[in-house]
Amino acid sequence: MTWLNDTLQGIFVGGGYALTAVGLSLMFGVMRLVNLAHGDLAVCATYLVTTVMAALGVPFLAALLLMLPVAFAAGAVLQLGLFDRALRTGPLAPLLVTFGLSIMIDNLLQQTYSANVRGVPAGSIDVAAAHLGGLVLPWLSVLKLVLALVVIGGLSAALRFTGWGRRVRATSDDVAMARLQGIRVRPLFATVTGIAIAAAALAGTLGAVTTGVYPTLGTLTLIFAFEAVVIGGLGSLWGTLLGGILIGVTQVLVSQVSVPYATLASQLLFLLVLVVRPQGLFGTPQADGQAAGQAAGAEA
């Protein structure tokens, strides 16, 4: 029963990773943009929530809901003002630009909030849990997993069944052709990045309730999210969910034996997937070739 419970806790942890990673996966899938500032933007949102709570005296959930539209807008503005320009310059520029953004955010946060770990006072939800036989269901973890399922399920359905999703997929296939069909690509990309950053902000803030928040947390967040995306298969949202859950389960199970090895174990899982199935669990080799072809086309 302990093992079963540990696996369940791993799935919950993985749900959090997946919720962080879904935006990374979405942005790569649609725009071939690897956002290295993804984790740092999530950390920014967490600091925003704590600041709003302290300044306005509003409860955690209210501050969280207030933060979401701000995160969406920040993502959209970043896309319009920065990432669009970087994407036009070729496949390398977005990496450099987002890496630079990551370092800037990191240092600005240290300057403003100091490097100390700061708690996120979420109130009773922090420790509340239900017990079901030998299984523990911490409400916060359940919430993260449910949100991951809702966000990924909702996004998948929107991409598959709506006109917006059709335009996003068409643009992902061939940007130049999408424009010639009358698609306004810039607002479309801005929406996608807005959604991606809002999801990361949500996941980061909920995650920080357990771990506390500090300026360099973003780097660690990015690594796990990145691994979830690669394990699941680039651009596949359900693959990202599976990748996040695999990492979470591996970490929790190994941490029962030895806590320091938990992080190492998830990195080894990542390496193993890269060796055995480099396109990821849900990825297709053709999709990789296509992405590579597009990158080559952009360079030419």
């Binding site: 059709r166 335009r167 068409a170 296939d173 052709m177 424009r179 010639l180 009358g182 698609i183």
Partner: protein, 299 residues
């Protein structure tokens, strides 16, 4: 009433100029075919009209409004649709999703999804198939349907027959009159001169980025058109660089009753006189060739 006019258009890619002072106009409901060899600038002209390339100079007007400064997606919404060379469907979308992509900016018109399926029954049968998995002919049908779905005023069709079996191409050209009847005007790029002339009201010939010949499709002298196509200096009074669309005066025209087969020696009376020959070292290098002193250039 002219639907589309292009005036004195220069365009190209980075430091390579592909179009030099190209002018043309399309009346409402008219079909104009664009003839020329590979690299003559036909696709560049279509892409510049559609907005994928910014013109360097010149005017493009649609229904009287200047659209040369508009981005491509706005031109699409104003009624310019393109069937691009190589079809360029969205491979991960189904056939039907491809056709529905431009529907957000669509104008009012006859081309509903049902009408398109009636025009192309083979697309209707495979509507749920991913476009990347369709045959070449099916993909071309989807590409035409996708362009028509926007109910455009101007339809730009780039080498619809490229890479397709002749029977399939015949099928498309049999459908063309039905598309023309809907009132759309068509700028048609076609390698097959006879097909192009048969399908169009007027024809333009491009050579090295310039309009070297223009006229009614029915009245064009096919042999002169062949000369213009290859830029052969066999017709005195015909210059690739100077005519720019103006017809050659009657008294300067050279009667060419039969085209010269390429595999036979040129008869003496048709040979280029020595004083008009270009010595080998002054000739332009062949297109797309790699200079011998620069083996590093990737082919």
């Amino acid at each position: 009433m002219t639907a589309l006019t292009v005036q004195d258009l220069d365009a190209g890619y980075r430091d390579f100029q592909a179009l030099f002072g190209v002018s043309l106009d399309l009346a409402e409901g008219e079909t104009v075919s664009l003839i020329g060899a590979n690299g003559a600038g036909k696709s560049t002209l279509l892409m510049t009209i559609a907005g994928a390339l910014r013109p360097w100079r010149g005017r493009i007007t649609l229904g009287g409004a200047d659209i040369a400064g508009l981005p491509d997606h706005q031109r699409a919404r104003r009624g310019i649709a393109i069937v691009p060379e190589g079809r360029r469907l969205f491979p991960s979308l189904t056939a039907e999703e491809n056709i529905l992509v431009p529907s957000t900016g669509r104008g009012a018109g006859p081309w509903s999804l049902d009408a398109l399926y009636e025009l192309f029954p083979m697309v209707a049968a495979r509507r749920s198939q991913r476009a990347g998995l369709l045959s070449g002919g099916e993909q071309q049908a989807v590409a035409i349907a996708r362009a028509l779905a926007a109910n455009p005023r101007v339809l730009l069709m780039d080498e619809v027959s490229l890479g397709l079996a002749p029977a399939v191409v015949d099928g498309f050209y049999r459908l063309l009159p039905r598309i023309q009847e809907s009132g759309v005007c068509i700028l048609l790029v076609e390698q097959d001169i006879d097909r192009a002339l048969a399908a169009s009201d007027r024809a333009l010939c491009l050579l090295e980025g310039r309009v070297v010949m223009a006229g009614d499709s029915a009245g064009l002298d096919r042999d002169r058109l062949v000369s213009a196509y290859f830029g052969a200096p066999s017709a005195p009074g015909f210059s690739a660089t100077k005519t720019a669309g103006a017809p050659v005066p009657l008294d300067k025209r050279v009667p060419l009753d039969k085209p010269v087969p390429l595999d036979k020696p040129v008869p003496l009376d048709r040979r280029v006189p020595p004083d008009r020959r270009v010595p080998p070292d002054k000739r332009d290098p062949p297109r797309n060739s790699v200079p011998p002193d620069n083996p590093e250039v990737p082919r």
